[in-house]
Symmetry: C2
Subunit: 253 residues, 2 copies
């Protein structure tokens, strides 16, 4: 097949990588989904789930490309995540492109990175003999942060991607109603508070915390017969609030 794309310049390979966060309600810890690479490069090393963008090309009988269509990078990231782990994505957002020269030993590979929130569940390995597993996030981060200069825990530049994802998660959780995406539909205020404390690494006063979160106005209180109160995220309220240009006030640090 002869390439005939209109540009004669060499093209980079383009992939996505995703940092998948899950919250273990029982253990009250944040987890990260990593896969053990079954193939080179970095065979046996841990890495983020990800893969290459799919482009469908139509060629004429001479092999010239007459049409090509891509999936969006977000779709690519979501598809790779589904394929490799079987998790259902509750939230997904872009971190940015990673393009440092030499980041992939195979050649020029640019990766658009994402982070996603899911409810952790049993994971299945992907197709290319990779095995996915949930690991305690803070332990993984500690390992990453204590690697000697020049060494990496994860394959490629995934250490950097993880650090950026955590930075963004800490930022985003203060202004966007994403903590609830780490919990089942119905949750208690204590569970919400535990997530914030686990993610931000700070303790909060129960009363003040509860008041702040409820004042944001995005939660519905579910009818409760027993003593305990449960809540649910009200997407419409959040959407209308955000459409009115107001920034959500959740927890400030």
């Amino acid at each position: 097949m002869k390439p005939n794309y209109g540009y004669k310049y060499p093209r980079p390979a383009v992939a996505t990588d995703s940092v998948i966060f899950g919250y273990d309600v029982k253990e009250k810890i944040l987890k990260i989904l990593l896969i053990e690479r079954g193939i080179e490069p970095f065979q046996g090393k841990m890495s983020l789930p990800g893969g290459f963008i799919k482009i469908k090309t139509e060629t004429d009988e001479d092999g010239f490309v007459i049409n090509e269509e891509n999936e969006s990078l977000l779709d690519c990231a979501r598809r790779e995540l589904e394929e490799e782990t079987g998790c259902k994505v509750r939230y997904m957002t872009e971190l940015g492109a990673f393009s440092t020269p030499g980041r992939d030993p195979r050649g020029v590979v640019i990766s658009d990175a994402y982070y996603a929130l899911v409810i952790p569940g049993p994971v299945r390995g992907g197709d290319d003999a990779m095995e996915a597993q949930w690991l305690p996030f803070h332990e993984v981060l500690d390992v990453i942060n204590h690697m000697p200069k020049g060494f990496h825990f994860l394959a490629f530049d995934h250490d950097d991607i993880v650090k950026k994802a955590y930075y963004r998660l800490k930022e985003d959780i203060c202004f966007e109603p994403i903590a609830f995406r780490l919990l089942p539909e119905k949750f208690s205020m204590t569970q919400v508070q535990n997530i914030y404390q686990e993610v931000l690494g700070k303790e909060f006063d129960r009363r003040n915390f509860s008041r702040k979160v409820l004042d944001s106005g995005v939660l519905d209180m579910l009818p409760h017969t027993g003593r305990n109160i449960y809540y649910r995220l009200n997407e419409e309220k959040y959407e209308s609030m955000r459409n009115s240009g107001k920034r959500l006030k959740l927890i400030f640090v």
Copy 2:
């Protein structure tokens, strides 16, 4: 030249596009640098400066690629900006990748978008018969926002990129010391306030504004003999503050 990259999948073309903001101190308005496209597609239309990532390939005598090296996307964006406009970049940050299928009529082109802050000056056209010019940003944004559904003012999906850039600029200016990058090294508090008012579209009280900005601690007061006081950004103070994990407090909306 036969492609032999290790991946046999078709690759997208990868480019960067940059939203260049400048502040006209005399007219007290925000400006945007656009170029008039000299070539198809969208010849004659306005667009953002940008271009394709450079990849150097080494091939052996049979034309097989034995080594390839890319510039980073940030370098690409900076280079394209320099080449096409001659402006000196004071600040540049990523907006994210744009990859909607069909965004470029020529084929699959993924663009990593950036926004940059520069001091507006005389601009020269680029090499491919493009002409750069500074336009009042809010007028451009108005045009974009009033385009009929399905029509675009700028080429490609650059309308979307501009909107995202402005959204980010409004966010970032509240938390990062970037407003000063739109001004000469030495500036007055009034100039700073004018930028905030122009960017955020709100008026501020002089005294409160000045106090807030000075309380942030990132400005040095320059020795003044006359009546007027001038300031300068102290990068070290900002860096040490940010390294201590504290978030900068500037102007909140």
